[in-house]
Symmetry: C2
Subunit: 242 residues, 2 copies
């Protein structure tokens, strides 16, 4: 696991992006709160890092020394019980912030689903920044309340909805999130594995597989590698409504 601790430095495609002014997800990220004239203050404390698929870069229960903003790729966030049971608490995508829900230690682990690039902020320096810039703190707080809304909806999803409803809601939510960062499409990319979806929805991998198969059999979706295509918008939406 040594390689987990040694991030590959920024990879080819974005290797030239070293300043926040030219960041293409800035408008989505917490960084949008900073005025163009303040961006150098972010540049001063940020470190651009990349992680290859499956590498774990946040370890539950370890001291929280850094916070992150995702710039490329998808990150899986999860909590683990001592006996191995796992709950995926979210998938972070470009523009998302990692490090809201923490005290002195991380309350979750995080690893790269595919290749990922992140802006890494030392927590002390980040803390100083939010103390100096109330508008930045405000933006962070908005991110936190938004996360809280999502978390509460997830409680309802896991606590009260059927497997079929959970999958439908998951697919629609994923499409909504991709819509913010890519062009809309009937094809919903699912870069994560079935087991991640299962652990996110409080189901087993078999139930996820069977339920997706059922949705496909019912011609609601079409299953394709690493994605699904929506065939029946109406019935999918009806399932989400409950």
């Amino acid at each position: 696991m040594v390689e987990d601790l040694l991030p590959i430095e920024v990879c080819s495609r974005r290797s030239e992006v070293t300043d926040c002014a030219s960041c293409d997800v800035r408008a989505l990220a917490v960084c949008a709160a900073m005025a163009p004239s303040e961006l150098h203050e972010l540049d001063a404390i940020v470190r651009h890092v990349a992680h290859g698929a499956k590498s774990t870069f946040i370890h539950q229960d370890e001291e929280a020394r850094a916070v992150f903003s995702v710039t490329k790729g998808v990150v899986r966030l999860y909590k683990t019980l001592s006996d191995g049971r796992r709950q995926v608490i979210g998938f972070a995508m470009p523009g998302d912030f990692l490090g809201l829900a923490l005290h002195n230690r991380y309350g979750f682990s995080a690893d790269a689903v595919g290749d990922v690039t992140l802006c890494r902020f030392d927590r002390i320096e980040f803390d100083r920044l939010i103390t100096d810039k109330p508008h930045f703190l405000r933006r962070l707080h908005e991110f936190a309340t938004h996360e809280l809304v999502i978390a509460q909806e997830q409680m309802m999803l896991i606590g009260r909805r059927s497997a079929e409803e959970r999958l439908a809601a998951f697919l629609v939510a994923m499409r909504g999130r991709w819509a913010r960062i890519t062009t809309p499409s009937v094809t919903i990319q699912l870069p994560m594995q079935r087991i991640d979806i299962a652990d996110y929805l409080g189901l087993t991998i078999e139930t996820v597989s069977r339920t997706l198969t059922k949705l496909a059999r019912d011609k609601v979706i079409l299953i394709v590698p690493d994605a699904v295509r929506v065939l029946d918008e109406g019935r999918l939406a009806a399932l989400v409504r409950g």
Copy 2:
């Protein structure tokens, strides 16, 4: 439901408490961020309200005009699906803040479990306050991140733990919360009904009842009216650990 909209004005026991300086839960609440010399600014925008048992004072999907800080009693927060399925997302106790997870409308409903008193803040005025007082915003942000940690733990609880583990974790969590505001005790007060516990834990009322009976049969707890007494600390803790 007209009475829901007309809060009983502050009841006997606390009727004299009209200034924040003499509030006995201030240290626990968001208000602790305000310096004594600033308390008049809170007094200027707060309205003390009381609600009798079962009255609903926040309605899901309605415009969010106010936020609240609980000063007495227990509040049940919940989301409802169109077909009546309900998920209790939390119980708010003295010192807790209501109104973090909202955009323009409330994402949940709230009602008084027993008699409750609250500080009510107009949202516009509250917003102005957090804009003027970064240290107050900071405190609010800490409350939000703490809520987020709780919410993520709840996802794990509902998604991955057995009925027995959920009840054990619930009891221990309730005890921890009472410990902040009352003297410690082996008796854990449970002012809410079984159905609320069920809807909080993603179970049915029958499963809650059966599981509590089982814990009592196993001599882990003793069931008493509106409370349980812990008999076997060790086994309860073992269930929580998973």
